[in-house]
Symmetry: D2
Subunit: 414 residues, 4 copies
């Protein structure tokens, strides 16, 4: 059944309702004040995420396609545009936190208004309109899912700066939806290091093709020539990264790219993001997470690393980061990633050969960021359910630490 067929509308309505409801579930533990926090220019308030994802549907789906749609508030076009130059001027990103108005209540009213209009459109649109709409609607859902993960990473950053160490949700409540059991735990039964997957290389096809949604940056599917290589069967663990720390890894220039070494020194990094020396004068480290301050879980994948730290760890371990092509080739073969942490690859984020941005305003969605960023693959315990694919390309600048990102080792096959 094609997505454009009338018969699948019900599916779309359900899917739309489910994704939108997940945003509500995610923000439920947050107080009105929590929703307002912007702790750095790269992060956004939860309230802003809720409004921006709604603006996306209003602007790209409802305004062009829903007959008689009444814009909820004309000022929101300015307030909640993120970065679309083609859609006009916008509120400066570092000042999103100053938007105490509209209130959280008004943003929820905005969401309801748009949700109802989308539901009406899904019910009433003729086949032609629906065929035009459904692609953007799907893009909007994937867009909202990306912001769902950002809601979590951004509130984690804000909470980490609060000396009270607020708990987003206690561990026992977070359950499946926060991904605690997305993937198998690594390392427990392999105390001396991970097993290696061996791949033979050769001409390999990379990227998305065929049915199912994928972003423009995962396309077109194209051939890449790979040499034989090996990829670790699981991501690097906290235990392994602790060994890197204890062997002086953060103080030894040998392991670091030049820009990474400058960053370590300027920022005074001595451990991953959200780690602190145990405050009671005892030994060891604590780590801040959505469940508050915790002891280290030595067998969990290490996370909140920058690319620079991931790269340095790999070199110290006598290995290297995989390219995103190696990652995709190997993980297609045997599994679907750890589901625990995003994994930094060795690949700068660039266009695939023959890349064509999505037509219209969504052309700015991915393409214009293809410089100064590194591809991450996999997905994290903060990623919403149903959002990921083996061809999925996440990307962040190499000094980024507030994302849930770690690494997996690779090496040339002899």
């Amino acid at each position: 059944m094609s997505v454009a067929e009338p018969g699948c509308r019900r599916t779309w309505q359900d899917r739309f309702a489910a994704v939108r409801a997940h945003s509500r579930w995610l923000t439920q533990p947050l107080s009105v004040e929590d929703h307002q926090l912007q702790s750095m220019p790269d992060a956004s308030p939860a309230k802003w995420h809720l409004a921006h994802t709604t603006w996306f549907f209003e602007t790209l789906v409802l305004r062009p396609h829903a007959p008689g749609y009444q814009v909820f508030d004309p000022t929101y076009a300015y307030l909640f545009n993120s970065y679309y130059e083609a859609l006009g001027p916008r509120h400066p990103r570092p000042q999103r936190g100053v938007l105490s108005r509209p209130s959280l209540d008004e943003v929820w009213a905005y969401r309801t208004h748009v949700d109802e209009a989308v539901a009406r459109l899904a019910r009433d649109a003729d086949a032609d309109t629906w065929a035009q709409v459904v692609g953007t609607l799907e893009l909007g859902l994937h867009h909202e899912q990306q912001h769902q993960e950002l809601i979590l990473t951004d509130i984690l950053h804000a909470f980490s700066l609060n000396p009270l160490g607020p708990v987003y949700r206690p561990a026992q409540e977070a359950g499946v939806l926060l991904g605690a059991s997305h993937g198998a735990r690594g390392g427990v039964d392999e105390p001396n290091g991970a097993a290696w997957l061996r791949l033979g290389g050769g001409l390999t096809h990379i990227g998305h093709e065929g049915e199912g949604f994928a972003f423009d940056n995962e396309q077109p599917r194209h051939a890449v020539w790979l040499r034989p290589f090996e990829l670790a069967a699981r991501p690097v663990t906290v235990r392994e990264h602790l060994a890197f720390i204890e062997e002086g890894g953060y103080r030894d220039a040998r392991w670091w790219l030049s820009d990474g070494w400058a960053c370590v020194q300027a920022q005074g990094w001595e451990a991953p993001g959200y780690w602190r020396a145990a405050s009671d004068g005892g030994e060891g480290w604590q780590v801040f997470g959505l469940h508050g301050w915790q002891a280290l879980d030595l067998d969990a994948p290490v996370s909140h690393l920058s690319f620079y730290e991931a790269d340095a760890h790999a070199r110290w371990a006598g290995a290297r980061l995989p390219t995103e092509f190696e990652w995709e080739a190997a993980l297609n073969t045997v599994s679907s990633g750890s589901g625990q942490v995003w994994e930094w690859t060795a690949s700068p984020y660039t266009a695939y050969p023959g890349f064509q941005p999505t037509p219209g305003a969504a052309a700015e969605y991915n393409g214009k960021f293809m410089v100064n960023q590194i591809v991450l693959r996999g997905g994290s315990r903060l990623s919403p359910p149903g959002h990921l694919r083996p061809t999925y390309r996440n990307f962040f600048p190499p000094a980024t630490r507030w994302q849930c990102a770690g690494l997996r080792l690779a090496r040339d096959a002899s």
Copy 2:
């Protein structure tokens, strides 16, 4: 009746209740989210002001003097200390806005807890304890009044950055308590300029002495030798400053101190703070205030000037700023300031001869800021009732524009 006499306790209880209640009145129009805003490092969230002023009473009055006082929350000592080194480490000022926890409700519970404990202390303390306490209690009330004005200047700054231009209170509601009628309006009946007060100079006594509260920085009263001078009978008006603008005052280096000229160019200043060119393409300016965006009131005192602008305006007008001694000598003689705007003086903020800081932790209240700041005199429409004195010394760095500050002209008498 001495402040330390038991008979005046009731007066103190009433005074305490009134000042504390005024903070509630001031924050009533603010939403929970508004309370959270910190729009620049120099400003603080309203919620933080409410908690910090409470912390002051808890730390300096209740903990040392109230038997059996239960600290409301031991973490607040860290969160709500502003700058007292002697009272231990504190949360970094630029990150006050990240404190979504404690919630506004909790802060109000904190205020109630402390208010009740102060009331008990005032009722139950023996004479000796009360004599020890009452000075700090009074300091705490003046301290809270200073923060009451900051609540307004800080929310004004935050709202000014919101494209929706939120209204704090409509003009008709703000009434007496927001100071709209603190002083006579200037200029209306003197369209061609203000009258001048002439003073003969000579040995003049400056500063506070005798009964009644004054900050340490207003003391000791001491002699200053003044030359004959003249002081304008009212502050400079919007109309007069508009003439400065229209004659190119912001583009002519002649009028400016060197640091001021650098500031004008770096910041792109073309008019006072919170002015913008009328957005409808029409002529003229609009100004943002607690009542929202308004047309200019040409006869009102100009405000939201930096010292640099005040100084440049005075030089352009063929005059100069008065020293703080001239200001005090003249205003003692004839009036009590405009009550509309703080007035930048020509005087850097320094210690009076024989200055002794308040003993104890409050020693840091004023003395350690006596460099890189300029004295302002008078008081503004945002100052709380009953807070001001002719000897009062306000002070801010010379580039400051978010305070309600203007100027009054002075000149040497021939």
Copy 3:
């Protein structure tokens, strides 16, 4: 004849003498004061370049391999190490310009001292020693050639900030050695745009293999799968870039990567580096070069573009930048680049599959810079003679404009 054979030593001696003499020729027009200039942290004084290239030979060739070699001055190891962590601490890069001592005379004495010691070593070394030395010696010569180009780009930057507009060398004197005739001029006979080279793609071998020198970053030779594509027969000309400017290219966000657009606005870019509006109030542009301020040469390749500008120009022109693999595949086939300007590619600078850094201290030569930079191919009119190869990979951060860099268009073949 192998490089390690005794019979080729004379060749090496001649080569060494020629490269070292070229540095002298390049710095001849510079006054003692010119040699001292460091106009930004990325640039270095000419005197420093002369000393650093000498330190390279002293440290990597003479100290380990020349028996009885007397270090010229032990402090130079600190002063003239550029970035080799393994070789100890070093003088901070942004403060190279403060090294008025050692004097230029002393640096020339240093060069003579090292030149003589290298000559002795080449004459007297036994076969084993020579075999060990010759690779590093060759690396040192290529290293010096890279700094020869930097001497020119750095002095150009410094001179451009001098209102007197100093002339490095008049055009008529610069002659062949400054590369004026390295390559054919583009565009003259193709007023309506360049011809396109068509390549069929498929499995293509990229990188250096076999005899002759290449840096570690050009190796190993490896297979890359290319799709059919077309590459312009010449770089983009000044005339073509002027059209981009005149059609508002620098003011239209559509053409720009997000980081590029931020850069254009923050820097106020309106034209390539070293362009200025004609100062006499007339129309048009002037460009600053080693021959001073000149009118535009419309048919010359445009240069002193950042990657961002090159990328935006290509998009505006309905094309794209070539990957470095496309560039190498095409230029290997038909020509050797323009010889006029470095050409920005679409490729971030990363390791080739199987990359192994040069062993020893020279491991830091290239590998640690493989992030946040973009590959340039070809070579410029400022590149020294004999320095380039089709596999040569130059690299700079994407905002760089003080290098002599332009672009060549590419497009997918239908």
Copy 4:
């Protein structure tokens, strides 16, 4: 004999020649490269100082008053104007170090050209012209003397950043002209602290009046009311400041102004400027001066303090800094300052009552800097002979450390 009388022209010619010759003597030890150094935006190259002081005479004396004077080079008006807005645009201060052209030789030719023209003017001018000229000529000489001190403080800063630690002049050569014996050494015979001068206060006249040169900022002479006070008979010594360091003075917020404490922490100050821990692993400190790195001279006045350090030291010592009025009153009475170091006072730099700037372009000489600076009194061992007066007011921002500045203690008299 009035300065304007023809009979004193010879004196002026001699004075002019002597001051100009002193600049030559001061720059004699500097290499051509040394002359080029600008090690921070606040400092200027020695070559620039030589040219700027010459530009002052050309612009303010010769161009308006010398008939037929031929401007040496019209571009110099742009290159060597320091900060005079009324005299047109100028080369940016932080880029003075990039002016390798004009060469040092050309600057000396400029000096000769101007010297000869001034000599001709002094010889040939009629009485009226001479009367008009002589005041500006005198100003120009005092101006050049101020830059003579800056030549030394600026080269000291630049040399301090060179790991070779260049010696400006060996101690034995510097002799009287570098001020080694300007004043009596402090402290030797008062190991337990300095003697105190007691002054009775009352109405005191401050500032310059009558014959002899003074800058506009020393005038008019005016009355100030002083309370009784005591002033130390000598500046604070190195030994005494070492005690401050050893008692943890740089780590104890109690002693510091708030801005000073922020500065100490941001800059990591642990000792005065130009001090370093002894490099051989031994105990103690070394200090860098014009004679190179030296052991501390414990009995010398401590120097290269910021105002913040001077103020903190005084508070730690149970004293305070004197106001500039106290300083002038006391030093007029008994001596003429130490002649070793400038002494930070407690006085922000402001206009004296009735201050009138020098008419014409020289109006910008002093007045426009009257904010954000602190007055220093006395004079240093780097001040040129014949330059100082008891009414002299030097001024620098409070964080300044590259000037030769210390402090003298004061206290209220009981």
